[in-house]
């Protein structure tokens, strides 16, 4: 790159960053509680989706165990940040843990680390398994984790869960981490790692024959994916302020899979788009679920309607557009400019004709 190109490149990045920061400031100040919450959830879901996409889409290891991983990460950060008084009253923890009052960032990182550790420990023995067997085992991880959460009352307070988790999460954290994640994945895709992942995803045997250490890179993919997903879980817990063993159950796992499937696996924009669609739909349709009156008709609460609709959408997408809305295409500056110029061409032609 010439110095001129470099200058304009930095200029573009600076402008982009300024716009992004401006958007965040807008969100933080203008949005009311509910809508702000929706935006935060969207950001968190996007992070989780991106994390899952590394393992599930790029490396093509269809693992459903990330629910359990998120659960253990969420408990980790909870235990490290809950007020000492709460812990003393409701839980039976070893003294060092009970007195622990970690600040946000170390707790986040700890959550990510525990996620990585547990995923390696839990998933590694399952590597011998192929296809459906592996999926089954990964479902098992979820169920086992939930079960431990229910029964290990000394540390988790059983099915009632824990409350009073400090509200550390805000727009800045979520979208900052989201940006970092996106940038990281962009670099990852171009790196040796990324290409190894994709090659394993396309054809394991071929990759092995070409010299890729398949098992090692699968582990890498799990590590990276779990870290991101663990952070997502921790962010979630610090947003809601409470958690219980069922928060990341199979229904949630399915929602994440739905996000990836709708948006298009294998692309960053697909993951984000899917997260957006599902999150906004779920959150904004919630009042409908609770019952409302339409033209004087009392429509009773229909709990579960949202899940029904999402499930239906997923089935339709899988039958008629299995590659997701975006397929294999990333939304980059090129595509945005192309779209804009196409729109301009159309309006120009219309003006010329009419």
């Amino acid at each position: 790159m010439t110095s001129g190109e470099r200058a304009s490149h930095i200029g573009k990045i600076a402008v982009g960053l300024a716009l992004y920061v401006g958007l965040l400031m807008l969100m933080d100040t203008q949005l009311k509680g509910f809508y702000l919450g929706v935006m935060i959830l969207f950001g968190i879901n996007a992070i989780v989706c991106l994390g899952v996409s590394i393992t599930n889409s790029y490396t093509n290891i269809f693992s459903l165990g990330f629910g359990g991983i998120m659960l253990i990460a969420a408990y980790t950060t909870s235990l490290l940040t809950l007020p000492v008084r709460y812990k003393a009253q409701f839980l039976h923890l070893p003294l060092w843990l009970e007195n622990a009052q970690w600040p946000f960032v170390p707790a986040l990182i700890a959550a990510g680390a525990v996620a990585v550790l547990s995923s390696v420990v839990l998933v590694l023995p399952a590597f011998r398994l192929r296809g459906h067997y592996f999926i089954l085992a990964s479902i098992g991880i979820n169920i086992v984790m939930t079960n431990i959460g229910i029964n290990f009352r000394a540390w988790t307070h059983g099915p009632l869960g824990v409350r009073n988790i400090p509200f550390y999460t805000n727009v800045w954290w979520v979208y900052g981490i989201l940006l970092l994640t996106i940038l990281f994945i962009v670099r990852l895709k171009r790196s040796k790692f990324g290409r190894a992942f994709v090659s394993i995803g396309k054809d394991q045997t071929l990759a092995a024959v070409l010299g890729v250490n398949v098992v090692l890179y699968k582990i890498y993919s799990f590590i990276i994916g779990s870290f991101i997903v663990g952070i997502g879980g921790a962010l979630w817990v610090h947003h809601i302020g409470a958690m219980h063993p069922h928060v990341f159950e199979l229904v949630f796992v399915f929602q994440v899979i739905a996000m990836l499937a709708i948006g298009g696996p294998g692309t960053i924009s697909g993951a984000i788009l899917g997260a957006a669609i599902i999150t906004f739909f779920t959150q904004l349709a919630r009042p409908v679920q609770e019952g409302f009156s339409l033209f004087g008709l009392e429509i009773p609460p229909l709990i579960g309607l949202i899940q029904v609709l999402i499930a239906m959408i997923i089935i339709i997408v899988m039958i008629y557009r299995p590659q997701g809305l975006l397929g294999r295409h990333e939304i980059t500056w090129k595509t945005i400019r192309a779209a804009i110029s196409a729109v301009f061409k159309k309006t120009r032609n219309r003006n010329l004709k009419g």
Binding site: N60, F62, P125, A126, R128, L129, R130, G131, H132, Y133, I135, L136, A137, I139, G140, I143, V144, N147, I150, N151, K202, D203, Q204, T205, L206, V251, F254, I257, A258, A261, L302, I303, G304, L305, Q307, V308, I310, A311, M312, I314, I315, M318, I319, P322
Partner: protein
């Protein structure tokens, strides 16, 4: 202690029957289509609900309601095949896609029922006949348990005969192994798939009745755990291996009950863990299950 154990043994047979039937249904569909019908547990649940509504709302005699329940499960399974799975097969969708669709179908049905009937537990109708008890020494054996076990054995024997000796059954095993070559023999694999779904779903319906009789409750989420355990049994028995699934179903169902019986009561909430622990251990030692699977290639996606 011995008495308690013996009593639990009776329950073990009942739960084993329930899971065995579910497992056979799973493995039939799994073997033939190469896909996990995640919604099988919901087909099970629909059968139970139909029986419940017919008896409580319309005062239908129980036996007729039970038969109608099995029919309802069968029909639901066929509708599911037609609407969700056949389009996927027609479009030669990759396994992952079908898997997600299957997952979606399961949640769709479960939350649909939850929407209309709420998640609260209802009492499954149990005719008085079933509450009769016989006594072997000090052990109480319910007529219900006897009927469940005996009818399950009979049904499984019928299914085994069907699979092994009839033309359609043999065709099913052929399609399960290699659908392309089977087509070259003049077998319309779609018809065979339909038969597999019909039989598998009917078995799920029977299993649901047995479940209702044994546990006495039903709710929209009731199919989730038994379904999953039935699926585990199908996997352990070898994909597409019907006798294997029968045996594995009994092993898991019976084993789970006995496991809980042998544990101190404080540990009994760990019950689901038994099944999963068993699965992990067995898959670790024998990654393709206890018995020989009935498919040509067990791997997926470029493996």
């Amino acid at each position: 202690m011995g008495l308690y154990l013996a009593q639990q043994l009776i329950n073990a047979f009942s739960y084993g029957s329930i899971l065995g039937l579910l497992a056979v249904g799973y493995t039939m569909i799994y073997g033939i289509l190469g896909l996990i019908n995640f919604a099988h547990g919901e087909i099970f649940m629909i059968g139970a609900f139909v029986c419940f509504f017919l008896v409580t709302l319309y005062q239908v005699p129980w036996v007729i309601a039970a038969l109608a329940a099995v029919a309802a499960s069968t029909v639901s399974g066929l509708i599911l095949e037609r609407i969700v799975y056949r389009p996927c097969v027609r479009r030669k969708a990759p396994v992952l896609t079908v898997f997600i669709a299957s997952f979606g179908a399961s949640l769709f049905l479960r939350f649909l029922f939850m929407m209309f009937f709420t998640d609260r537990r209802r009492a499954f109708p149990i005719p008085e006949l079933f509450e009769k008890m016989y006594f072997l020494g000090e052990i109480a054996i319910g007529l219900r348990d006897i009927i469940i076990f005996v009818s399950t054995i009979i049904i499984m024997a019928l299914v085994a005969v069907f699979i092994k000796y009839t033309k359609v059954g043999t065709a099913m095993r052929g399609v399960s192994y290699d659908a392309k070559t089977a087509e070259l023999m003049g077998i319309n694999s779609i018809k065979v798939i339909v038969v597999a779904f019909a039989v598998g779903s009917a078995l799920a319906g029977v299993s649901a009745i047995e479940y209702g009789l044994t546990f006495g409750i039903l709710n929209p989420g009731m199919g989730f755990m038994p379904g999953l355990e039935g699926f585990i049994a199908a996997v352990l028995g070898g994909i597409g291996n019907v006798p294997g699934a029968m045996i594995a179903g009994f092993l898991i169902g019976g084993g789970e009950i006995l496991f809980v019986a042998l544990l101190p009561p404080s540990l009994s909430p760990l019950r689901p863990l038994f099944v999963w622990a068993l699965l992990f251990v067995i898959l670790f030692v024998k990654p393709t299950g206890l018995f020989r699977p009935n498919v040509k290639f067990e791997g997926l996606w470029g493996e």
